[in-house]
């Protein structure tokens, strides 16, 4: 083996560092809807890394799953839960919320 690094290896190094950094950011992003965006970027980074590592098949599926489907599912879940919580706050006028509900601070009276 020669001591000269190939272009591929330099690219691999950059992609690896990118993936490690974006992965860390994804974990530290506590807001799930923002995390979904970071995860999409992580998916892109991984797809880039896999292309450099000569794995186009995996890169393609990572692109589909990591950048499209998984973030989309997370976004949909977040949206669903936000809308429920919104309703819960509205619903408290008629009925007192549960003891540990996020939106239930016991504002209403009894039912």
């Amino acid at each position: 083996m020669t001591g000269v690094a190939t272009l591929n290896e330099v690219l691999a190094l950059l992609a690896l560092l990118l993936v490690a950094a974006v992965g860390t950011v994804a974990v530290l992003t506590r807001d799930p809807s923002r995390q979904a965006v970071v995860l999409a970027v992580l998916g892109l980074g991984l797809a880039l890394l896999f292309t450099v590592l000569q794995a186009p098949d995996v890169a393609l599926s990572q692109l589909g799953v990591g950048t499209a489907v998984t973030p989309l599912l997370i976004m949909l879940t977040v949206r669903r839960i936000r809308s429920k919580e919104h309703q819960a706050r509205q619903g408290e006028r008629d009925e007192r919320g549960g003891p540990d509900g996020t939106g239930a601070n016991g504002r209403g009276g009894g039912s």
Partner: protein, 117 residues
């Protein structure tokens, strides 16, 4: 020697530990499922870096000579399977999160305390 040394493998380990850290400190179950996805990406990275061959091309022979040197195709097939597994598990877990919120109106794992002792 090469430029990267064991760095590619260490990146995989880093992703796994970072994902676990996210799970340990998570205050939102959707976030926790996202952290699990980060932890899983470590397996793709390790599999593919382990199978890399210097100077190899992609293991697809439609427009290269059957004698050309390719990277290890087996790990790629495994990683592909792994990607599917990851996506389906994520979907299932998110469906559970939705149901959980229906029942408990919270998705903060530290506030769910019906099961203890």
């Amino acid at each position: 020697m090469n430029l990267l040394g064991p760095l590619p493998y260490l990146v995989a380990g880093w992703l796994l530990l970072v994902g676990v850290y996210g799970l340990v400190t998570s205050r939102n179950l959707i976030h926790a499922v996202g952290c699990l996805a980060v932890a899983q990406s470590s397996t793709y990275v390790l599999l593919l870096t382990v199978g890399f061959r210097r100077g190899g091309t992609a293991p697809v022979y439609s427009d290269t000579s059957p004698r050309s040197v390719v990277v290890d195709p087996v790990v790629q097939a495994l990683a592909l399977t792994d990607v599917v597994v990851g996506a389906t598990v994520t979907a299932l877990l998110l469906a559970l999160v939705i149901q959980l919120h229906n029942r408990h109106s919270t998705i903060d794992p530290d506030r769910l305390n019906a099961l203890r002792g």
